[in-house]
Amino acid sequence: MSMLNISSAVFGLVTALSVIWLVKKNHMHVQYTLWWFAFIILVLIFGLFPKLLDLLGHALGFVYPPSLLFLMALLAIFIKVLLADIERTRTKASFIRLSQKVAILEDQIRILKEHSDGQGADKKD
């Protein structure tokens, strides 16, 4: 086993355990971990079988196959950020609409209070 094999196996293991720990501590939704595990699996595959990277790299026309790794890593991060922005947009809209609802409900409570106070005063009379 080469240094690459060992270090990628260690990296994969450490990351996997970290992700599982984050889920356990409720710091991360299970649905997000799917992405991270896909990432870990790819790291393990290319770390344990570096020949695969060479094969793929040459097939795609890369003179220097390890740059394929960098490209894939960058693409993965790019897609992740995009998905995160999409979700954040959804969350923002939900938050705004919730705030609007709160404002409307608070007003209704105020009106109800005024009515009930009014009735209370009448009863006393």
């Binding site: 923002k92 809209a93 609409r97 705030s99 609007q100 609802k101 404002a103 409307i104 007003d107």
Partner: protein, 234 residues
Amino acid sequence: MNKSNDQNLIIIPAYNESASIDKVVGKCRRLGYSVLVVNDASLDDTANIARQAGARVLDHPQNMGAWIAIQTGMRFAIRHEFSRVITMDADGQHDPEHIACLLEAEVRTGADIVIGACPERASRKRLFAWWMLRKLSGFKVQDLTSGFRLYNLSAVGLLSGRDATLLEYQDLGVLLMLRENEMQITETPVPMQQREAGLSRIFSSWGRVFYYMVYSLMLLAGKRLLSPVRKQEF
């Protein structure tokens, strides 16, 4: 609010407008309109002053911008069964007397939205922005950023929805959404005052104008590049 004979709701989004809100609300009330002030988490006494002047007031838990404040007002309008919404600014630019102009234009044209226009008030920055947006959007609206508008029930229903919550400004995005849904847009001239107090938020600096333009261009790109070409009616 007396709902039996009043279908019209005036919505005034307000952020730190304690200097002018009582006059604006007071005048609307004297003319017999129902007034809703949406307090966008003002730091001053806007909400109390508005209430004392006779307005119903909704308080945003945090500052979310004028368009969101208007949308909150629209959601309120639907809940309380109003059938028409008139938006106006809190700073005294718009005279409640001219609400009648908007109402008259709606009756005359049957439009879903009536924009009260006053192109004469525009600064250079504002005129440039209007010109560019007109060219790119195909709208013939003269006063694109006027906050003095009338929306009928169909328009209010559409603009209360989740898609409209994602808009940042009430100007282009709202009009694009209305056009997309084949609603009629009409404009009517209305005199406007200089602001009594406060500054324009969009046109306060070239930086802000730049952001506004980029934002609007992005919106236009989304709507026009990826949609079938429609015959421009307005």
